[in-house]
Symmetry: C2
Subunit: 251 residues, 2 copies
């Protein structure tokens, strides 16, 4: 950690991050509680295989994806390279867990003879998964794989951030659609009788939306953005020197 001034952390940031983590962990536990209490729990080799789908998606494409976005705010004073690797790794974990969730639902459909990919939830879900994979691959080749020119990185960075946040929000929206689908398929008319499962799942839905909002708030607060660090400033100067032919001292 270098650069005294850059080491400061905004006073309110840790509280907002803690709140988002509390929301995220509540989300994951509540999804587990819903599946355990009202859907018979989770098992791979039975009809309970379906239940692996919502749990994997909430852990991978909501909680871990959200946390991967927050890495640059939480570890704002660590070396950029470390933060970058952690960001990439969290997204890999999220992708793998989401893949298990995808396999679970396709496998379940195949065994039960159900049609695949007919619903709005499934269309959004496949779109999110493909976009997420493409974003990871493009992000990796621009920012982690050595060789991408600095100017290209600078031009792609805002797009990477916008699409990262958009894919995350689309993941939250897709989870809400899936939750709604699960409720309407299984509860039917009982949903309108304010069954406990319906209330629990509605609260889970609101918490999903709140987690999305909390992550978005932390990401978009202008004064909480990661400060530019000495090493990056030096790199940026080296690059300017190379392209403009100036000496660093002339900046």
């Amino acid at each position: 950690m270098e650069g005294g001034a850059a080491a400061s952390t905004p006073a309110a940031l840790p509280y907002y991050v803690a709140f988002s983590q509390l929301l995220g962990l509540t989300l994951v536990s509540m999804t587990g509680a819903w599946l355990g209490l009202y859907r018979g729990g989770i098992a791979w080799e039975s009809d309970l295989q379906f239940n692996a789908h919502p749990l994997c998606m909430v852990i991978g494409l909501v909680f871990l994806q959200g946390d991967a976005l927050l890495v640059y705010r939480v570890f704002r004073n660590e070396a950029k390279r470390t933060t970058k690797v952690l960001h990439g790794l969290l997204h890999v974990f999220a992708l793998v867990i989401a893949l298990v969730g995808l396999v679970a639902v396709f496998d379940y459909h195949r065994r039960k003879g159900y049609a695949d990919l007919y619903s709005l939830h499934s269309w959004c879900g496949i779109l999110v998964f493909v976009l997420y994979l493409v974003q990871w691959l493009v992000g990796f080749s621009f920012f982690l794989f050595p060789g991408a020119p600095f100017s290209l990185r600078s031009r792609y960075r805002p797009q990477h951030i916008f699409f990262g946040a958009t894919i995350f929000l689309l993941s939250v929206g897709t989870a809400l659609l899936g939750l709604k689908e699960a409720l309407l398929f299984n509860l039917g008319d009982k949903y309108s009788a304010f069954e406990p499962e319906g209330i629990l799942a509605n609260v889970l839905g609101l918490l999903l939306a709140c987690f999305g909002g909390a992550v978005l708030y932390i990401l978009t607060r202008a004064d909480w953005k990661r400060p530019s660090q000495a090493e990056e400033q030096a790199l940026s100067m080296d690059f300017k020197t190379l392209t403009e032919g100036d000496s660093p001292g002339s900046q």
Copy 2:
């Protein structure tokens, strides 16, 4: 229109705005087509009253709300006060149309003896409507009603922008949940047989998400933000003069 430098419009902005408007108008027409082709059209004094609900919500809480957010990008070179009034007015239109949509569904439920506010869609919908109304009232008293101190406006502005975008995205999410609900209630098992209505509504859902994404992209592009204008710079200087005791010339 004053301030020569401020009069420039980024080259790509009009194309993105035109694309968003094309998406928005397609959304509204497609919602109308869906209700006309597969749901028997719209009428107030019959069972068709329900159909006023999705149409009003897509026009008010999606299309008009989205356009109200874009006003500061589209009319970036007009006087700030004119833009502000247009922003406020578009939101009023959106609120009134959404209110008609709300009355339609509550009235329909009452006549049919259906339960109110049991579903995740309805919970999110009521939350969105209340937040939207509160945001409008707070925004009006801070920015349009004279008297709010300049320092308070400056501190509230980022919150107003964040919550405005969040309420818009939550509106899009709620519309997706409602669409899904309408499909599962009415199509039932036919949904998985790839019925034309299901495909049309899924495409409508994807377009809703795309419109949300397009508005968000235009709003968040840093270089498309509204430039600070001569009149506002002068106001800001006057304020600084008042609070810091400096002369405008010393800036």
